[in-house]
């Protein structure tokens, strides 16, 4: 990653869930002020601000945040990059600090989604009197249901089923058991939107959304924010001993988009860009998947978690089912995955997710994860993917 290390010295996320009394700026402010306090800093220390928000991408949430907690005139980058928006905001802050344009950067991701329904769901288009071709395919009506599906639960269901077709071994029950794991993990995370343990039967007999994903196997729309403060080596050395002691090294920070693949116009390819991001991240960090003590990956649906075991190379190619069956990704397994409860129970306030995943790793590496602490964790990986596509992978290490 170049000659100079980048460090996280402040990190925070709000509780995910319903926050009817708070607006987007309130939530962003809550996480930002807490992250600043964590770093023993104020807005006067921040040299660059990256702010992610998807639902109000044109609203200048970064500037609104400044007005709420401190205006200093520093550059603000408002970003939107689907579900990878938060990771993109962090990439902006890291790139600016690495480039030497600032010593301290802050990244914030915030979203208000509670009550917005399932991701990607749209109402029907009004029907005109005559057939009118429109759009890229000259379609005379909504393609949803006529030409397969575009809704997220359906798209990601097909991503998991495609893996099953390629390598075998998948079943409705297998995907449901992945969800069972994450919901079990969530009971230890007070910041999760849902902290309810489900039995396998309860998961399989819940409302079917898009086979094989039932409702508890889908990430929940909710409100939340996360914020993080990054510094270069020199700045870190100038900080109080207590802040330095809790600093976490960013050993790799990668953002990819998808290269051309046959069929990516038909079903989004979430695999190639994730594998590419992971490969680059392991190279940057000079470590391999075998060195990871925990992983937070983008389980927007239970079917997605399975393919990312493989894409992040936590198992050999084609071996994701065996990897899960071995018990490895449970919190007491050899490679704990989504000990936060994952998006299925922690919730998925889109732009906050990409920073919140990294925050979870930070908490474990600092030894501050409370009841869900993975003992002795030294290295962790956080992964996020937004359809379209954008993939962020960060590898963090505890300071030596």
């Amino acid at each position: 990653m170049g000659s100079e290390d980048i460090w996280i010295i402040g990190s925070n996320m709000t509780k995910f869930g319903k926050h009817p009394e708070k607006d987007v700026v309130d939530l962003a402010s809550e996480a930002s002020v807490a992250a600043l306090r964590d770093a023993e800093m104020t807005m006067s220390d921040i040299g660059v601000l990256g702010v992610g928000n998807l639902m109000n991408a044109g609203a200048g949430i970064g500037q609104q945040l400044q007005k709420q907690i401190g205006q200093t005139g520093v550059p603000v980058f408002n970003v939107s990059n689907a579900c990878a928006t938060g990771a993109t905001a962090l990439r902006v802050a890291i790139m600016a600090v690495k480039a030497g344009e600032a010593d301290v950067g802050m990244a914030v991701g915030v979203e208000k989604l509670a009550g917005a329904g399932l991701l990607g769901q749209r109402g029907p288009k009004p029907q005109s009197e005559t057939w009118e071709p429109s759009g890229r395919f000259g379609a005379i009506g909504s393609t949803e249901g006529r030409i397969g599906t575009n809704i997220m639960p359906g798209v990601f269901a097909q991503v998991g089923m495609e893996y099953g077709h390629k390598y075998g071994g998948t079943s409705f029950e297998l995907f449901a058991r992945i969800s069972e794991k994450n919901h079990a993990h969530s009971t230890l995370n007070p910041l999760a939107a849902y902290q309810k343990r489900f039995t396998l039967d309860e998961i399989m007999n819940d409302v079917m959304i898009a086979y094989p994903n039932t409702r508890p196997m889908c990430s929940g729309n909710c409100d939340g924010a996360a914020a993080m403060i990054v510094v270069n080596d020199e700045k870190k050395k100038s900080m109080p001993a207590e802040v330095q002691k809790r600093a976490i090294k960013i050993s790799a920070s990668v953002l990819t988009s998808d290269p051309w693949e046959e069929g990516c116009q038909i079903l989004p390819d979430v695999n190639t860009l994730t594998r590419n991001a992971a490969t680059q991240a392991y190279e940057q960090a000079g470590i391999g998947p075998e060195d990871l003590d925990l992983v937070e990956l983008h389980d927007c649906f239970a079917t997605a978690e399975l393919v990312h075991y493989d894409n992040l190379m936590l198992c050999e190619q084609g071996g994701a089912v065996d990897f899960f069956e071995s018990g490895a990704p449970w919190r007491d397994g050899t490679k704990p995955v989504n000990v936060s409860g994952g998006l299925q129970s922690k919730g998925h306030p889109i732009a906050a997710t990409g920073i919140a995943n990294i925050h979870e790793i930070v908490m474990h590496l600092r030894g501050e994860a409370g009841d869900r602490q993975i003992e002795g964790a030294k290295v962790g990986l956080a992964h996020v993917i937004g359809l379209g596509s954008a993939c962020g992978v960060h590898i963090l290490e505890k300071a030596a």
């Binding site: 599906t149 898009a210 046959e262």
Partner: protein, 135 residues
């Protein structure tokens, strides 16, 4: 041909412009002259090899289901699938099969079929496509 003749001839309209109607309807793709990558929409350059010359080609009308889901969020469940049509992946809805995991299988052979969506106020019939289990 004057305009009234033209109107008289057009009695059907495909649901999407890459569905070609006729005796034996088929799906049509824009194929890159350089690398043979296929696209159902227009491209200024091939996203695979950056070539900018394309030829319209007929896509095979039968194939194998490589992925599917059964969407149950609306009033009527439906099967969304990816069908490998002789190397060209096609997104579609499977019809003529019960939308249940017992009836829809990965690897099943399917073929293109069309159906009427009804007529508009000017009497033009819309034709949509789906894939159905092969005979």
């Amino acid at each position: 041909m004057n305009e009234s003749d033209n109107t008289a001839l057009i009695k059907q309209i495909p649901f999407v412009d890459y569905l070609v109607l006729g005796e034996e309807p088929y799906l049509m793709a824009n194929e890159c002259n350089q690398c043979q990558a296929r696209y159902f929409d227009r491209r200024n350059a091939c996203s695979c090899c950056f070539g900018d010359q394309f030829t319209k080609v007929k896509v095979a009308s039968s194939g194998v289901v490589t992925s599917f889901t059964i969407v149950e969020m609306g009033p009527v469940p439906y099967v969304s699938a990816v069908v490998d049509c002789d190397g060209t992946p096609v997104r579609c809805t499977l019809i003529g099969v019960d939308p249940t995991p017992e009836k829809v299988q990965l690897g099943m052979s399917v073929e293109l079929t069309t159906y009427s969506m009804g007529e508009d106020s000017e009497g033009t019939e819309a034709i949509a496509f789906g894939f159905t289990p092969a005979q």
